[in-house]
Symmetry: C2
Subunit: 330 residues, 2 copies
């Protein structure tokens, strides 16, 4: 393994000079020496040891992103947005996937802390468990105490800079739009009650429906994924319109109805949430609430890096997008 010392020796200069030439320094180096060093580095195939640099500089050029599941397009989009932003800043990205295990999330923060990453992005729903949240927050405090920066996409529960999608308001707006089309009997494929994202969307929807004076929707809990939507779709009773708290679940529901010969939107209308790009060619096209996921990821990174004294919480509105999966009953 070729070190800076090898390069310096071959070029006949000191370590200091070699370092100044090869890794950006404020100090100038004479052009003759500079050329010698560059030549030597090239000949030897020198590659600076980032671990040593991180140690010496006291700061790394790596950030960490923690998501639930990369194969879920929601998180992939968030991560992609953040990664593009990071790459614009010349930062490398360490990605951790927790597969929805909160313990893993805490462990990852600890590990990223050990790595002295410059910032940590937590993307993914909080769970409604105060002890878990407290432990995660504690871990984050330790990390921040040692100079780390943190941002979160999701619920504002951790006391850090947060990009907070308007889950409640978005679902409520969707509810009003659907009611405006003449629907009166609703059901909600609600996902797991302890997942805050799922719970907020469900609550926003149900509350809005009740405020409109319509009958309270039937709420069906279940997993937050495609199969969860598929299974829950069988328990929607006589609802004319079904709201799945995310697009992936909605697609599962569509599949279930199709298999049972229930036509969408003629027999039942279906709406989702997120507006996942990969699903845009779904048939029928899915009514949903669009979130600018990539922007949110990028914004979270900016927040983390710029982080001032005060904690910033940025709310992101969702946009109701009506498509063919919902019937107009008027």
């Amino acid at each position: 393994m070729v070190t800076l010392e090898d390069v310096a020796k071959q070029a006949g200069v000191s370590l200091a000079t070699a370092s100044r030439v090869l890794n950006g320094s404020t100090r100038q180096v004479g052009s003759a020496l500079r050329a010698r060093v560059e030549l030597a580095a090239d000949e030897l195939g020198y590659r600076a040891n980032s671990a040593a640099q991180t140690l010496a500089r006291g700061a790394s050029n790596v950030i960490g992103i923690v998501v639930h599941d990369l194969t879920d397009p929601y998180f992939a989009a968030l991560a992609d947005g953040a990664m593009r932003a990071a790459s614009g800043e010349g930062l490398l990205v360490m990605v951790g996937t927790t597969h929805r295990d909160p313990e893993q999330e805490i462990a990852y923060v600890a590990t990223l802390h050990a790595q002295r990453v410059r910032a940590v992005l937590l993307a993914g729903s909080r769970v409604a468990d105060e002890r878990i949240t407290a432990r995660l927050a504690g871990e984050l405090v330790k990390y921040q105490a040692s100079g780390g920066r943190v941002a979160c996409v999701g619920q504002d529960l951790l006391g850090v800079d947060t990009v907070a999608p308007a889950n409640y308001e978005g679902a409520a707006a969707l509810a009003r739009s659907l009611a405006g089309l003449g629907h009166t009997r609703f059901a909600v494929l609600a996902g797991p009650p302890h997942l805050m994202t799922a719970a907020d969307r469900c609550a926003g929807f149900v509350t809005a429906i009740k405020e409109l004076g319509l009958p309270e929707p039937r709420v069906v809990a279940g997993p937050f994924d495609r199969d969860g939507g598929y299974a829950a779709a069988r328990q929607t009773g006589d609802a004319t319109c079904v709201f799945a708290v995310n697009d992936v679940m909605a697609v599962g529901a569509l599949a279930a109805y199709r298999e049972h010969g229930i036509r969408v939107p003629q027999d039942v209308s279906v709406a989702g949430f997120d507006d996942i790009a990969t699903l845009r060619d779904q048939v029928p096209a899915l009514t949903t609430v669009r979130l600018p996921l990539k922007d949110m990821g990028a914004r979270a990174l900016e927040l983390a890096l710029s982080g001032g004294e005060s904690v910033v919480v940025e709310h992101v509105a969702g946009e109701v997008v009506l498509r063919e999966s919902v019937a107009d009953l008027r």
Copy 2:
């Protein structure tokens, strides 16, 4: 920032002892001292500095994965498989996305080399450009010379351990299946000619069709993504069966036909390649060639880590999956 020295001081022991207690060592430490050290570490919120450890140990516990685009489910699945395997080995993962820029890929390898990551996984199609390939290979050689391990998912062109999907053979098998259903006039949505994955699949398909004595398919080049499939689908002439070289393109083609009132599979049949999980609820269900993407990612990691003297190339077969998007003309 609390260091090992702080812990040692607080516990009243030497640096050596503290190190031995907190970070796995072969040496034993008496239980009294051990307890004191652990207590001190806990009180102070000590977190070992991985950069320092990497430097001192000469080996990091990080691996690197380079993919084209995380929001493409193909790469997300590959990355996910590799990440699960990595997490099983207690390794952290740095992910880089190149967005199909070969220069970025080379730059990433250099960066990961600098990071002294334990292994690098290159996931994603090679391009048919010998100079690029040579430069990438050169970068890899440097990295390997300094002890790095490399594996690749895709074409076996880099002289490293490779998990090679049977693109050519899979497409050929698909061609024979489709011909077996009575189709005779084919078109191929071929993607970009310089992308080896696209080119191999196209060649396998076309060759198989010719070998069956059927008319040579019309080949339409274009981008490798959904919009590429959408655009190319308009130029398929009188073909009764269209093969898109990946599922995402096939979905684009389905969308194009739908918009133009062309029924699938009654008017035209469509097949893809990859069997992307997120698209399984597409209507009509997509005929495709299934690749075990997660397994392939995991296997690539294993290959990289286990890497012996000789270069291993593991071929992965694809399985033809006939679904409703293809009509049976018999």
